[in-house]
């Protein structure tokens, strides 16, 4: 926000001097200042690192897990089969993705309402990768002051070495991330082999490089710019906020007036608050804001300022929590813990929770009751009905049987709905593991039964039974509706 000082005007400075209106240049764009976030440690930094480890172990690790002789989680776009553990999903199961997205959205809404930008601060890939990349940066270029000095200094062998080593490490992480990402869609072990033999396909190459570049660019170069200018959630999360949402805030009543002082200074006499004006909270901020100016849309809720301020408070032997997680009402009214807790159960939280819980329940129930195969019935359009041997009326259908298990299955096809209706499918239909198969089925009805039913369409039900290999176990049955036409 702060640009070239010569070109922007500081209203406070103008007000002081009371100067006349003067001409200045308004710019459409300007270079964003580099942010040199200072390293921070503490309770919340520990949580952030815990989540970095958890999310990244999951992301980098899962593609390497095997299950029943195949990858545990594999989205095979070419074959249109999506394997998640023991679950084999077909494109017809996309409703589950919808449910997953709704669950994610409502979880995000709920957490945001209760505790602000938890997602942004701890779990968002942008935060997580930026955290990793900043750690790499510190290893090669040192902390805030050293980095600022290095950047300001002239280019030399030392600077070149440090910079290229940092970028090399960043690119390596980016490429590994891209490789892992593609490994969810192409079996990662064969993908690794084709990387080693330089035999990567054009699309695989593209996506490894694309995702690798996106990681490198976003976590290395763009960082807070992504949150400030690109992220839609950052812009609309404020509608989930209210006065009882937990946000990171500065207790101005306690902190002001700020100023330098010695540890022994009598605050009453010096007319000082608890803020010593060390500016550490600004230096650690990854988005470069001053939390003491109040709630700002740039704040991603990472709590780095809390960690660093608590350290200062400890040193000064003041109570912790000058900057803390608190609600706006809590910050102003100094509510007790139990009063604040009671305010969590407000209508919007309850509504979000109710929707979230019911969709989760629906999703789990739906997955639990999921049939081990699917059936589609497609009626032949070429001819509505035909008269075959001995005046029998025949209608022709195609049944698509989709086996969603990873074992070969046997199915029996039957038909009900018209007296003495019969199919021409003799014996059982065998469908290979995780495969779909079309079965043409002619349904015939004897002429007298057809005459009794009358000309026109009649509802019929196809019954497809999966035969169980376990003796005594009832077959799993699916019924699909269709129409049988008796010609005039």
């Amino acid at each position: 926000m702060t640009g070239d000082p010569a070109l922007t005007v500081d209203p406070a400075a103008k007000a002081e001097t009371g100067a006349d209106r003067r001409e200045s240049v308004i710019r459409l764009y300007e270079k964003q200042p580099e942010i040199y976030a200072r390293a921070v440690s503490g309770w919340f930094a520990g949580w952030r690192w815990a989540l970095v480890w958890a999310t990244q172990l999951l992301f980098y690790g899962v593609p390497w897990l095997q299950w029943n002789g195949r990858q545990l989680m594999l989205f095979d776009l070419e074959a249109r089969r999506f394997y998640i553990g023991g679950l084999v999903l077909y494109p017809q199961d996309f409703i589950y993705l919808t449910a997953l997205l709704i669950v994610s959205a409502y979880a995000l809404f709920l957490f945001t309402t209760v505790a602000g930008r938890l997602w942004c601060g701890y779990a968002c890939p942008q935060t997580v990768y930026t955290e990793i990349f900043m750690w790499v940066e510190r290893k090669f270029e040192g902390d805030r002051m050293q980095r600022m000095k290095l950047d300001a200094g002239p280019w030399g062998a030392r600077k070149l070495l440090r910079k290229s080593a940092k970028h090399g490490a960043w690119i390596a992480i980016g490429l590994w991330t891209g490789f892992t990402f593609v490994g969810y869609f192409t079996p990662i072990q064969t993908l690794g082999a084709s990387v080693l033999s330089l035999g990567l396909g054009p699309w695989e190459t593209f996506w490894v490089l694309f995702y690798g570049f996106a990681t490198y660019g976003n976590a290395g170069w763009m960082r807070e710019q992504v949150c400030k200018y690109m992220c839609p959630y950052a812009r609309f999360q404020s509608v989930m906020f209210d006065k009882d949402t937990l946000v990171i805030g500065y207790d101005a009543g306690r902190g002001e007036p700020r100023g330098t002082r010695g540890r022994k200074t009598d605050l009453e006499a010096a007319k000082l608050g608890h803020c010593i004006g060390c500016n550490l909270c600004v230096q650690v901020c990854p988005t470069g804001i001053d939390i003491r100016n109040g709630l700002q849309y740039e704040c991603i809720g990472c709590a780095a300022c809390i960690d660093v301020c608590d350290g200062v408070m400890d040193k000064m032997q003041y109570p912790r929590g000058l900057i803390r997680y608190d609600t706006q009402t809590g910050m102003q009214g100094h509510l007790s813990r139990s009063e604040e807790l009671r305010r969590v159960f407000r209508p919007r939280v309850l509504v979000y929770t109710a929707v979230l819980v019911s969709i989760c329940a629906a999703l789990v129930t739906s997955l639990w009751l999921r049939a081990p195969f699917k059936v589609n019935v497609v009626r032949d359009r070429g001819s509505l009905a035909s008269i075959v041997d001995d005046g029998f009326i025949a209608n022709v259908y195609r049944l698509q049987i989709m086996n969603t298990t990873e074992q070969v299955q046997r199915y029996r096809i039957g038909v009900q709905g018209l007296p003495r209706a019969a199919t021409d499918v003799a014996g059982v239909v065998v469908v290979e593991a995780a495969q779909a198969r079309w079965v043409p089925v002619a349904v015939t009805v004897p002429p007298d039964d057809a005459a009794r039913a009358g000309a026109g369409p009649h509802g019929i039900e196809f019954t497809v039974e999966r035969l169980s290999d376990v003796p005594g176990q009832a077959p799993y049955r699916i019924q699909e509706h269709s129409t049988f036409i008796v010609p005039r």
């Binding site: 308004i26 459409l28 300007e30 270079k31 070429g382 001819s383 025949a394 043409p440």
Partner: protein, 300 residues
């Protein structure tokens, strides 16, 4: 595309690109009177616009999109009727993808082509391919169960209008087939003569008929015998159907037979040589051949 429209579209495209650049240049710097970091604009007496510049990388993204557009237009069709230097077309891409798929399937088909029909029908993979080819290309007329319907032959019975060897089936798929019954009403004689012949024809297969009419019609059947044979058993070389079985492709009964004699029929099976490759026709032919064999087909 009409050349006038092509020029118009090319001009509009280029002008839009130029306008984008001009907009960026004009808007990038502005001298204004301001002393409070606003643009100096005031609406409704108190609404003011803060000077809140975009990040510079955003501007570069904007420039990049303009550059991308120029590069894209050079390579791909976009400027009116200009085809672009890559000569890309959706048709071309489709054909390239088809060629790629054919190359991928070539070894599979090479194995199948070397196999005779008797072996292919015992090969589940070939029959799976054959069934898919059949459902996509043949089932619209012959039905998913291949039993056909009125006018479209049943492929699962043993009644063949022509030779039922694999080669003959493949020829029919590739080149199509025309089944032609000429109008014979005048040649047979009067309306009564035609009805009598029709009854005779029905009597050959033991279908419902009048014996008296059939006896009278027998003499006139000579006209039909030229193609259908003196015994009415048909002629596979000519494609003349056997009249002594109860297969009535175009409908049985007196009225249907009379209509056939009087009006004739021209029935066409379209050629598929342009739709299917010779290898596909081989596998499909074997699948169709297998449909009428007494042993069940592997894939069924």
């Amino acid at each position: 595309m009409h050349s006038g429209w092509a020029i118009f579209i090319a001009a509009v495209t280029i002008l839009s690109l130029v306008a984008c650049v001009i907009l960026l240049v004009i808007a990038s710097r502005r001298q204004v009177m301001s002393d409070d970091n606003t643009t100096g604009h005031v609406w409704d007496a108190d609404l003011r616009e803060m000077n809140n510049p975009l990040p510079r990388w955003w501007m570069w993204l904007f420039v990049l999109t303009v550059v991308f557009a120029a590069v894209y237009l050079a390579f791909y069709p976009g400027l009116g009727s200009n085809a672009g230097t890559l000569n890309w077309s959706s048709q071309g891409q489709f054909e390239a993808e088809q060629a790629k798929a054919r190359t991928a399937m070539a070894p599979q088909y090479a194995r199948f082509v070397a196999m005779p029909a008797e072996e292919l029908v015992r090969e589940p993979q070939a029959m799976g391919t054959g069934q898919r080819l059949y459902l996509n290309n043949c089932a619209a007329c012959h039905g998913s169960d291949a039993r056909g319907s009125k006018g479209f032959p049943n492929l699962t019975d043993k009644d063949w209008l022509g030779d039922n060897s694999l080669d003959a089936i493949k020829k029919n798929i590739a080149e199509g087939r025309v089944g032609m019954m000429p109008p014979m009403g005048a040649a047979v004689g009067s309306v009564d003569d035609v009805r009598n012949v029709a009854n005779y024809v029905l009597s050959l297969s033991g279908s419902g008929h009048s014996d008296v009419a059939a006896q009278l019609g027998k003499a006139k059947f000579g006209t039909c015998a030229a193609c259908h044979g003196a015994d009415g058993k048909g002629n596979k070389t000519l494609g003349a159907p056997n009249l002594t079985d109860r297969v009535w492709l175009h409908g049985g009964g007196e009225q249907a037979v009379i209509a056939m004699i009087v009006k004739g029929k021209n029935n066409v099976m379209p050629a598929h040589a342009k739709v299917l490759t010779p290898e596909q026709i081989h596998v499909l032919g074997a699948y169709v051949w297998g449909l009428s064999q007494s042993t069940p087909v592997a894939a069924k």
